[in-house]
């Protein structure tokens, strides 16, 4: 059994394989941010941070921190050669205008139509949408990176019950159990983690799960 960190790295590693050479990518905070550590060798991927930079580099050493260079989580980061800074209007012009190739976000719930809920639980937790609604509408491809269930409760559903962040927005979901495409027919399992029997993956999914005829193991 994978512990939480192994599970998150397993998911992040698989998501990273989706990132093509020469693309601009925006990663959400938390698990999605780990994806940057696993970009396959030989691929040049630019990361945008919606607070105003392109060319996000590695975390700085403790003695080399500039508090004015931060990511969307407010944490100090570095900028790669060729990177640039810009204001929030330009940043969201880049996002809404379709200039971001891929966005990777977490989710509370995803529906089989690609609806996504990830910004509030009414009466309990209301962090806000930040830039997520713009990213979901503007990015060319939306990948959800998350654990398959919330402590056993399905997060992949026929309909979201929480307030939506966007409608019909999600293209691909990567969890510790498998890779799921959102299609007109619904959720299609294209890859599975052999640690989990298919029946267990189906049981952990709160909507019909179509098994792809080209199903393969997740690597």
């Amino acid at each position: 059994m994978m512990d939480k960190q192994e599970m998150q790295e397993f998911i992040a590693r698989r998501v990273a394989q989706e990132l093509q050479d020469g693309t601009l990518v925006n990663l959400g905070i938390g698990l999605p941010a780990l994806v940057a550590n696993f970009v396959p060798e030989g691929r040049s991927v630019l990361f945008q941070s919606e607070n105003g930079l392109i060319g996000l580099g590695p975390t700085p050493a403790d003695d080399n921190i500039d508090l004015s260079i931060t990511n969307a989580g407010g944490k100090p980061v570095t900028v790669l050669p060729g990177g640039c800074f810009f204001n929030s209007a330009i940043s969201f012009g880049i996002i809404r205008g379709g200039h971001v190739d891929v966005t990777v976000l977490g989710a509370l719930q995803v529906s089989e139509k690609g609806d996504i809920a990830n910004y509030m639980i009414p009466g309990k937790m209301v962090p806000g949408m930040g830039g997520a609604m713009d990213l979901l509408n503007g990015a060319k491809k939306v990948i959800v990176a998350m654990e398959h269930t919330a402590k056993g409760a399905p997060k992949l559903l026929t309909e979201c019950t929480l307030p939506l962040t966007a409608v019909n927005a999600v293209d691909l979901i990567v969890t510790e159990m498998g890779v799921i495409e959102v299609t007109y027919e619904g959720f299609v399992l294209t890859e599975y983690n052999p640690y989990f029997p298919i029946e267990e993956i189906k049981a952990a999914t709160g909507a019909p799960l179509i098994i792809s005829s080209a199903l393969k193991q997740m690597v």
Partner: protein
């Protein structure tokens, strides 16, 4: 024209009940000392327009803790548990606005536009009560302009006429808030003589800036 004033003078330019815009993204590029000056003055019943509500001990979050707001308009409040508490207990009205929409509403407010059309928020609670306009077969939400009585901004460097430059990710909302408020006060980390900033390097034209306070180093 000398735009330099003291923090006390700056705080006296803000009144109870004002709507204020504050620059910054998670307290990066935020006028921390101006915020302290407003807290010291004990202003009340303010409306806040800001990307987020910072942290309980950093950025506008300190004003949230001091209960200075009756209404908060922001894209994200999750890093400040006090904002969440005030919202859930009904003490403070919080309007959550998508970040890209918020900056465009501010831009519209400052640049003479009657609003902006965006797909962001369609099909969500954000669209409630708003007009949907179809352009060339596509639906868009009409988002109206936002303005404030006072904008409190940060800059890396200002010349004495108010031309501003920035470093790193500190610019965020600052440049557009400067256009969308009746009165604009900038806390500059460094202040230089007119002419010492190349016109090529100016990020916010000085005409938007009414007053400057000296921020100094950390």
């Amino acid at each position: 024209m000398n735009k330099l004033i003291t923090y006390e003078e700056a705080a006296n330019l803000v009144r109870n009940g004002d709507t204020i815009m504050v620059g910054g993204f998670l307290a990066v590029g935020t006028p921390e000392k101006l915020i302290d000056a407003l807290i010291a003055k004990g202003l009340q019943e303010l409306t806040l327009i800001c990307n987020d509500t910072g942290f309980v001990d950093r950025g506008v979050g300190k004003m949230v803790v001091a209960k200075m707001f009756t209404k908060i308009m922001a894209s994200h409040i999750g890093t400040n548990r006090e904002t969440g508490r005030q919202l859930l207990e009904g003490e403070t009205e919080v309007e959550l606005i998508p970040q890209g929409t918020l900056i465009e509403q501010i831009r519209a407010g400052g640049f003479g536009l009657g609003g902006v059309l965006t797909k962001t928020g369609l099909g969500t609670e954000v669209e409630k009560g708003k007009m949907i306009i179809n352009i060339n077969g596509e639906d868009y939400l009409l988002e109206k302009p936002l303005r404030a009585n006072v904008a409190l901004l940060y800059a890396e460097k200002a010349d004495e006429s108010g031309n501003l430059t920035y470093h790193g990710t500190t610019r965020n909302f600052n440049p557009y808030m400067g256009a969308a408020a009746d009165l604009v006060i900038v806390e500059a980390k460094e202040i230089v003589k007119v002419g010492e900033i190349s016109p090529d390097d100016v990020i916010v034209p000085g005409i938007f800036v009414d007053h400057i306070v000296y921020g100094g180093a950390e």
